[in-house]
Symmetry: C2
Subunit: 245 residues, 2 copies
DNA sequence: GCCGGGTTTCTACACCATGTCGAAATAGGC
DNA sequence: GCCTATTTCGACATGGTGTAGAAACCCGGC
């Protein structure tokens, strides 16, 4: 005996209730109109606030206000604050995984593919509006809500580990533990977020350290450490810059 | 016109009010006795709880209960939750900075000193009961309370950057940006925390990845990337293991 | 035109955590 | 014994989270 239709989470058929046709339902208190799905408005507002003040520093009232709703109305669409976050975070690895597919489809030596991945990921992290490291700290991180995020994150780790193993087999990379290497390389990318924004203090000159330069540096360091012949590094760098502008 | 003696923060002369002589003051509701300074009991309890559930997941009531006090009594000693944290965190860089002094006093090539620092720091991070990355996310991080933490963190960055610059000048390290290198190396150490605890999933065999092994791997990768002649790595590794067992 | 069902939003509230206030309970000095 | 300083407590104001149930709207049937 269901109390009422609860549009939380995903609907089975993929269609979402909410703003399908005309604007039925009680009008908003502030009289604001809205064309799209309120879910998208909420997500967009939350996205901006999360990146400005962090997840913990953002209140549901604030999210609601920016979405033209009252605080409690947000709960009609999302069970709680973390549910909003989960929706945003689920797409965090999307871009990098798409790039992974492109890289593997394009082929090339394992070292070349690895360099492209690391550089791309580091640049992505520098540009990512959210704080990946804050997400790692959430209490409910183990729960199903973040299942997609974790599955994709693990897939990324395995893909990078496979590239390292390939490179070792090909003879271009030094003999090393692929699992450890992939963990260190990827966590290095993520760690970049911690200091990249504050790097202005250190950088000499205007825009001395931009995302591109930092990403190249991180990739040079990480892949360079694994390359058997480090003289190959400039070629990898150029190739990556050409293929992933 | 001060309302009353407020034992918050540090007292000018270094002595702390509180449990100096006999046990004066109102007795505790649960009748618990206490020998040392209540500040230490609170810090110890908070320390345990923070590492178990994170800072955000720990309530003042819980801290108070484990210290034998009521929730509001904790505020007699600490202005708020972050003040407790600040006291703990202030010592986070202590051990590493002490090690830095020892390394510099002992001397050796820049590469050797650098390797010792990175390995030691990484191991320290693996063993640190707290989550450095959670601390970075705190709203009040810019405030005076964490001034000591930041000052020491910056000192560490500068020291590592100086080692890199020395190594470049000596000709043992490849020509690179010392500032960027120090930022990446240290953030790599910190990033280790993010995956080290969960690494059991990946590790084959019992204790396959312990703090020591991970620290060596991270140092090998970071310093190895900078070494002009990577054949020197095994010697650095052995030397570090001898000097910093 | 009016009624009933479904949808969206609201108001009101219960709950919990934070941090403040003033008072209560002790010890020690005069 | 009284006064003062110290330590702890209980009560509370405030603000955020999430729930319950009603209100306001659209639409289709009669």
């Amino acid at each position: 005996m269901l109390a009422r239709m609860s549009p939380h989470a995903q609907t089975p058929d993929g269609t979402r209730p909410g703003r399908a046709r005309g604007r039925i339902g009680r009008p908003r208190a502030d009289g604001s109109a809205h064309d799209g799905d309120p879910r998208d408005e909420i997500t967009a507002a939350a996205s901006r606030l999360f990146s400005e003040r962090g997840v913990a520093g953002t209140t549901m009232s604030e999210i609601a206000r920016r979405s033209g709703l009252r605080q409690s109305s947000v709960y009609y669409y999302f069970r709680d604050k973390e549910a909003i976050l989960a929706g945003i975070v689920a797409s965090a690895n999307r871009v990098v995984l798409d790039h992974l597919d492109a890289v593997n489809a394009h082929g090339g030596t394992a070292a070349e593919r690895l360099y492209r991945m690391i550089r791309f990921d580091a640049r992505q992290m520098c540009r990512f509006p959210f704080d990946i490291n804050e997400i790692y700290r959430l209490p409910a991180l183990q729960e199903d809500r973040f299942a997609q995020f974790w599955a994709e994150r693990t897939a990324l780790t395995h893909a990078v580990a496979a590239m390292v193993a390939d490179g070792v087999a090909e003879g271009n990379l030094v003999d090393t533990d692929p699992t450890l290497a992939s963990l260190v390389l990827l966590s290095n990318d993520e760690g970049t977020q911690n200091w990249f924004r504050a790097v202005g203090e250190f950088g000499q000159g205007a825009g001395a350290y931009d995302a591109d330069r930092v990403a190249v540096f991180v990739a040079d360091l990480g892949v360079g450490a694994l390359l058997r012949d480090r003289a190959a590094l400039p070629r990898l760098r150029e190739r990556a810059q050409t293929l992933d502008p």
